[in-house]
């Protein structure tokens, strides 16, 4: 699917072991990911920044 530069874009890569890698994480997608796994300590500070730990992700 062709991306449009003016639209919000987040890309997810779901690995066979269940891990999810995220690229260009937006706040709405961070909130969705937290709802999927409320206990994930890596996503929480992305939903409410400046609280705690990292998320595995890659950017250019």
């Amino acid at each position: 699917m062709k991306k449009r530069a003016n639209e919000l874009n987040t890309e997810l890569l779901i690995l066979p072991d269940g891990r999810i890698l995220v690229q260009n994480l937006t706040q709405p997608m961070a909130e969705i990911l937290r709802q999927l796994n409320p206990h994930d300590k890596q996503i929480a500070p992305r939903v409410s920044p400046r609280q705690a730990s990292p998320l595995t992700h890659q950017k250019s």
């Binding site: 874009n9 260009n24 920044p49 705690a52 595995t56 890659q58 950017k59 250019s60």
Partner: protein, 289 residues
Amino acid sequence: MSCVAPEKISVRAQSRPALARERARVARELLADCRFCAHDCGVNRLAGETGLCHATADARFFLAQTEVSDELELIPTFAVALSGCDLRCDFCITGASSWNPRAGLGFDVATMAKRAEAALNQGATTIMLLGGEPTIHLPAALEFVSRLPDSAKLIWKTNAHGSTQARELLDGMFDVWLADFKFGNDVCAQRLAKVSDYVRVVQENLLWANDHSELIVRHLLMPGHVECCWRPVAEWLAENLPEVKVNLRSGFWPAWKAARHAELRQTVSDLETRRAGEIAGEFGLNLIP
């Protein structure tokens, strides 16, 4: 009586937007003999010539949005990704846009500055300019800065492959340099990104950035490159920039043309991630999330 040279007083007295406007004008003229990155092509981009990055004089962007995936101290950030890059990393996660400076939409600095300011009003704490590689679009980048509030916290996300000329133009323009140190040796740099003399150039840029702004160094762990790339990067940082903030990223994503290299057809293993963390600890690095 002050001994400060008048020209230095003049520079300090100028606001960042005003200074950026002047620098942008100079940078645009320099496109006639482009030497913004360490490839030092010397092509006349104003006349339509292109160098290794293939960029013309016109900047384009492929993404502009508020994101929360960067360093915690920088988010939420309004990230603007300019199309095109001077490196050719086969594993580039935005390869289609980073290798193609004609990707995306035309970069209208006035419109983008309004979007950035709106993002700040809606909760973004920083504005980040990235790519691709923004250095190859220095005139547009500086024009963008000239339209932003003097008080905005600006992040320059770079591959640290810029030239002395680029650094001089960027001096004082961005609050934070968020710089990649991707490869720990020139063999891997040449094989995976088709760039020579990589390590020397990046180290020169990092030392300069640390002296002229706040610096955060990023290293993306790559499968099979913990010892050959991460270890020498960690060792150099410990010796030369011992206090610098380092973000060690383990989310390697086998994208773009990564499959050209057998070891890059997978993600980083848990064992490699643990080993990389041990190396960081061994060198006492200042890791940040």
